[in-house]
């Protein structure tokens, strides 16, 4: 909880945007539109969770976008071409994501490659494999059982929303309540020290990348379900969006710092901004400019409040003496 509150400013910024858009467009604050925002950002949120994980551990995972595309395409293909049941195909897709992620981790840990390079290579390889597997064409012909995950609903609550909520809660618990979570922070905080404390640094890192790969695959499945076909160029550039969301949410590129809900808030901030500007019919050139300005202001205000906060803390502790 504390960690969520600590990132209060970006969250307040998000609320501010909500209020602003609700006042300026009567369509913004409608059930349908709000649901849209929560559904359309599902894959970004899920990938951001994985990205936060690798970033907190001191690494980065650039391969998420193309792993999402590859696993989406292969799970769709397993179902459409090989006739496997939807659930089995999806689970195999997730397993593939996990394995690719573990390979990333192994490259980093045993190959001693900088994570940037290892996952960038995987980005290229996975995209190449996707094009190879799909022959550059969308894989369609999915059944309801598959697309349910991307655009179905349970009791009127959209499935993707349920899925990302579960992911966020599960990973938040993992990071704050379990030994593995603490070890991720320790490894990202100082790898050498973590090793001296007897933490299995290599295993922790590999697991982080593997989980990130699996979440990317999940994002790919949702995306495929939502648009009802697996696109070979799906999710390109997703890595940058996820890193942005994570950094907005307070995850450090240098490791050891950040939390899961922060990244979700970051992803929603970007999503709400885009949606609101569309409703206000902002042209697409100015959209990029406004996005940049909002990005800077959100983080700058956050930094400012933090400094004010720590200044006031200091005065308070002075008073208590």
């Amino acid at each position: 909880m504390v960690t969520i509150l600590r990132r209060g400013t970006v969250f307040i910024f998000l609320i501010g945007l909500f209020v602003f858009f609700s006042l300026s467009s009567d369509r913004f604050f409608q059930d349908r539109n709000l649901t849209n925002i929560l559904v359309q950002n599902a894959h970004i949120i899920i990938v951001t969770v994985g990205m936060s994980l690798t970033m907190i551990s001191g690494g980065i995972d650039l391969s998420v976008g193309s792993v999402a595309a590859l696993c989406g395409a292969i799970s769709a293909g397993l179902m459409v071409r090989n006739g496997l049941p939807a659930e089995v195909s999806i689970l195999l897709g997730l397993a593939l994501g996990f394995v690719i992620g573990a390979i990333n981790g192994a490259l980093v840990v045993f190959g001693k490659l900088p994570p940037f390079i290892a996952t960038l290579a995987t980005l290229g390889v996975a995209r190449g494999l996707t094009l190879y597997y799909t022959e550059g064409r969308p894989v369609s012909g999915l059944t309801e059982a598959y697309t349910f995950w991307g655009r179905g609903s349970i009791n009127d609550i959209p499935t993707p929303l349920i899925v990302w909520l579960i992911v966020v809660v599960a990973f938040t618990v993992m990071m704050t309540r379990t030994r593995f979570g603490l070890h991720v922070y320790a490894v990202g905080g100082n790898q050498e020290t973590a090793r001296l404390a007897g933490i299995p640094v290599d295993r922790v890192k590999i697991l982080c990348y593997a989980l990130s790969g699996m979440l990317a695959a999940l994002a790919g499945v949702l995306l495929t379900g939502r648009v009802n076909s697996a696109q070979p160029q799906a999710a390109s550039g997703l890595e940058l969006e996820a890193i942005t969301a994570a950094v907005l949410g307070g995850v450090s590129l240098f490791g050891g710092v950040g939390n899961i809900p922060g990244g979700v808030v970051g992803a929603l901030l970007v999503g709400v901004l885009g949606n609101g500007m569309n409703l206000l019919r902002v042209q697409s050139y100015p959209q990029q400019i406004i996005q940049g300005v909002v990005l800077v202001s959100a983080v700058a205000i956050d930094m400012l409040t933090k400094r004010l906060e720590s200044a006031s803390k200091r005065t308070k502790s002075a008073a208590s003496r």
Binding site: R177, T178, L182, E192, R195, G198, V257
Partner: protein, 511 residues
């Protein structure tokens, strides 16, 4: 269990250990024996190989050859995890805490108390246990404080708490006292004796020889990576011990050269501090530093000495008060400005504030000088090399070459690099914050000689040190701080360790 087991089989034997790094043979055929319930001091000059030997024992890296025998069984320790598993706990020389995590998490990192659900951590138990460990060391830190908010000394105490919390058979303490003051050291020693009573063995490394005589039973001495010998402490005098370490006699290192000492009060003031206040860290500090004078600042951990030094150096601007250098008011906005005005600060935390760990020894030493020598921004390569070599020689810095990365030096040698960096600058006022932390006796004497040479040229030196014998040995006057205030001033030659401690603690009695 009792100390009688001393005569029984050794707890640990390290046999014929060899270890070399690129360009350095760190250990050559070294043997080490530790008996159960024994406090063994491991001594040697900076770079002698003490930390390397202990890191091999902790499984940080493997020896090139040699054997480790634990309770009579050969063991193969491939990681600190393995070492922990058989009951070895280690306080590393360089503070090994994760700065962003809090004290409690750091103490139990890697062996967190488990909750009901597998994999979950029992946080309440963790913090309760941590509080208990801290309290046992007389620390009142909240276990939820992030480590980066602690002073170096407090961090060192957290390291101690961490090592003690482990149910270990052998605890290795690599210079745990280097930035502690007497009070904390006493607490630590009390705990060490308690553990010894329980049959735990301790390997204790320190460059403060008086501590060795206080707490250790036996010493093992290394020199240049080889074993010199091992003897019971009571059979040794301090001089004999130094001779074992350096291989030659060293004259009483704290002996003052009377002729060099300036007559107090006769010289002109160089630095005048008037009513200096910064928030609650330092309050209403006034004193004068004369040309050619060494003034010591004593106090307990957290007394605000470091804060004072940093304020004088312009790291944080003061809230009120003024500082005059040679009669003109100083502007204390940034370290760059302080340096331009002739003030230098050797910081207390060498790793975070003093060194560029991934850069070479040469670059680190000459970093300040380069900026000065560069004409039109172009750096004269030859001169840099010359100055670098000169200081490596002067301070006896053990390094295979000027190109060696600083992180590969032993702790004491890193500290020498920090000092060398500032000596190259020839400042008018030199502020030293724990300058001889982790430095061996010989090098310490050399640094003191250099300090005296500087004051002879008219430089004023302000020295913060937690080691009172050192303060008494080299300063002309001693200022004592307590809770951010200046509480006493003594002429060094007319005071005693007890008198200073009384002022620092605010207690009436001495011990």
């Amino acid at each position: 269990m009792s100390t009688s087991s001393n005569s029984s089989a050794p707890l640990l034997e390290m046999r014929a250990i060899h270890k070399s790094f690129p360009g350095v043979q760190a250990l050559k055929d070294v043997d080490l024996i530790v008996h159960p319930g024994e406090i063994l001091a491991l001594l040697g000059e900076n770079g002698a190989g003490k930390s390397t030997l202990m890191r091999i024992l902790d499984g940080v890296f493997p020896p090139d050859s040699g054997q480790i025998i634990w309770q009579g069984q050969p063991v193969n320790l491939r990681s600190p995890h393995d070492a922990q598993a058989i009951g070895i706990s280690m306080i590393h020389q360089e503070i090994a805490l994760i700065p962003y995590l809090d004290v409690g998490k750091n103490i139990y990192l890697g062996r967190e108390p488990r909750g009901v659900v597998p994999g979950m951590i029992h946080w309440r138990k963790l913090y309760a246990d941590a509080s208990e460990q801290l309290a046992r060391l007389g620390l009142t830190i909240d276990p939820r404080t992030p480590v980066r908010d602690l002073s170096i000394a407090q961090q060192q105490m957290v390291e101690v708490a961490k090592a003690l919390s482990l149910d270990a058979r052998l605890i290795v303490m690599d210079e745990p006292t280097s930035s502690l003051t007497d009070t904390e050291v006493e607490t630590l020693f009390a705990q060490m004796r308690r553990l010894k009573e329980q049959g735990v063995s301790i390997v204790f490394i320190s460059h403060r020889l008086n501590e060795i005589f206080t707490v250790a039973e036996r010493v093992t001495v290394l020199r240049d990576g080889t074993l010199v010998g091992s003897k019971p402490v009571r059979e040794l005098t301090q001089d004999e011990l130094i001779r074992m370490m350096v291989g030659r006699d060293v004259a009483d290192i704290y002996m003052r050269d009377e002729q060099d000492a300036p007559a107090v009060g006769t010289s002109a003031p160089i630095l005048e501090v008037r009513n200096l206040t910064r928030g609650d860290a330092i309050e209403d500090i006034s004193f004068t530093l004369n040309r050619g004078e060494i003034v010591g600042i004593a106090g307990l951990v957290g007394a605000g000495r470091t804060e004072l030094a940093e304020t004088l150096f312009g790291v944080h601007p003061p809230t009120s008060g003024e500082v005059l250098l040679n009669g003109t008011a100083l502007r204390l906005n940034s370290p760059a400005q302080a340096i331009r005005q002739g003030i230098a600060l050797v910081t207390e935390d060498r790793k975070a504030q003093g060194l560029f760990l991934r850069m070479s020894v040469g670059t680190n030493i000459t970093m300040k000088l380069l900026a000065k020598l560069a004409s039109f921004g172009i750096i004269p390569g030859g001169k840099v090399k010359r100055v670098g070599s000169e200081f490596v020689e002067k301070l006896n810095i053990r390094t295979p070459s000027l190109g060696q990365r600083v992180r590969n030096l032993s702790g004491g040698n890193q500290q020498k690099v920090v000092i060398a960096k500032w000596l190259t600058l020839q400042p008018r006022v030199l502020i030293l914050d724990e300058p001889t932390r982790g430095i061996d006796v010989g090098a310490k004497a050399e640094i003191h000689r250099l300090m005296r040479a500087l004051v002879a040229q008219g430089v004023g030196i302000l020295m913060i040190s937690s080691e009172l014998p050192e303060v008494l040995g080299v300063t002309d006057r001693v200022l004592v701080m307590r809770e951010g205030r200046l509480v006493a001033e003594f002429n060094t030659r007319q005071t005693s360790q007890d008198e200073i401690m009384t002022a620092a603690t605010g207690a009436k009695t001495s011990w």
